[in-house]
């Protein structure tokens, strides 16, 4: 086995470690927190000051 092959194995190993780390952390997070909390994010707020015509807000609703 030459040095380059060692480097390739190191790349595979690091990929596996990081991939598994993400996977385990995702599973642990899913278990530790309520689903409603994890998906509680709502689309970005915009400053009230950017709306010139506040009485007619929310044209879509």
């Amino acid at each position: 086995m030459n040095n380059w092959q060692l480097l390739e194995y190191a790349a595979w190993a690091l990929s596996a470690i990081l991939g598994l780390w993400m996977l385990f952390d995702m599973i642990a997070t899913n278990r530790a927190y309520d689903e409603e909390l994890l998906t509680s994010s709502r689309e970005g707020d915009i400053d009230e000051t950017l709306v010139i015509d506040p009485p007619h807000q929310g044209g879509h609703l």
Binding site: N2, W4, M22, Y33, R42, L50, V51
Partner: protein, 461 residues
Amino acid sequence: MSQTTTIHGEKISLLRVLGPAHVWALGVGIVLVGEYMGWNFAVGKGGAIAALIACWAAGLLYTCVAMIDSEVTSTVAAAGGQYAQAKHIVGPLMAFNVGLYLVFAYTMLEAANAITLGYLVQTVGQMAGFADAHDKPFIVLSIIFLAWLNYRGVYATLTVNLILTATAFIAVVVLFTGVKPWSNELLNHKELLNGLPYGWIGVLASLHFGLWYYLGIEGTCQAAEEVRSPARSLPLGTMTGIMTLLIAATMTWYLCSGLMPWEYLGQATTPLFDAARLTSSAPLMVLLFIGTMFSTLASANGCINDASRAWFSMGRDRYLPAWFGAVHPKNRTPFRSIVFLVPVALIFAYFAPLDQVITFSILSGLLEYTYMSMQVIMFRRKWPLDTIKRGYVYPFHPIPAIVLLAICSTTYFAVFLGYGTQLVAMMIFFIVASLWFHFHRYKYVKRGAQFTMNWPRPLGV
């Protein structure tokens, strides 16, 4: 800056920690790799002069994109970028399609970057005497490492992108200075520029790869929910980004076309690195190799950031399963979307040929720009300037929108000349996806909850 992990009451949101420099790094970082490789295939299609015309025509297209994007995104401050804009301005079906364009464009570009990075490392191995060096371990490592970085937090991710992108840009400037553009000592434009070898049809064909100089700058607005001041940072980051790219693209064309004959330049894999080799300067060669590697990493990194935000936003609105709309409570990133897109990118990077991956990325981007030209006209009609305050107002409306539509139409023809089958296949895919969304998926969407902008009622509705 350290990231806080505060959960606001019972809600978790993405973290607002980014500034204009991060927005610049996101946009330019995704694109700058196009200066290091890819743009030069335009030279192969129509000669060096045709590539310069394509460079500036595409530059005009993207200046229109950046201006339009800056105005709209300074009001629609939401992750998902153009997806969120389409949802509020046009409607859900258009938004679903735009979301898919975004995810496709960025994931394919990420795969293309990983393939290139693997190729570069393999080449280094072979040059070092290891004839059986492989690219696959490094393709996989680059995708997973960058996904891990994105998973851990947006501030670190885009700070890394800022360092990578700034270094890669400085490398182009140093090389430009190194070839002494004020003299003919190294550059030989008089001998090397040979007009238009394929005539004007060559110019048209070169437009396809002319997009490569700037493809992805519109990705800046994916950071809308994570910048501290979206109305200021997004236009500033986007406009300085397109200016940086126009300068970098012109410098790249000038020095490469003055050093290499168009027959070689048109099929070179790493034209800027080749240009550095022709100067016979070891420091320049090392710098440009670093620049090539950094630009590839920065692009893949930014693509993971943007694709995951678009996927996350669609999940949050239930255009896709709501499961994807989750935010990590500690890292404050869309962690499920990031992890889900890793195998998608790996499959394309591992099995698909590079030119096909690039073409699908370009086509997705092109569809997105076409929609943007129509969207901004609707935006100005429904919400004139005196109804919503914009962080930036683009000038000469509607001329940039019309110019954008005209250049997009011409570029479709250019793509059709070389990749007609892929163009048709992609259109069929989007029609089938639209039917699926309309007849199946839309019933799960909370109709009112998806529209969140605090805007007045649109005119004419």
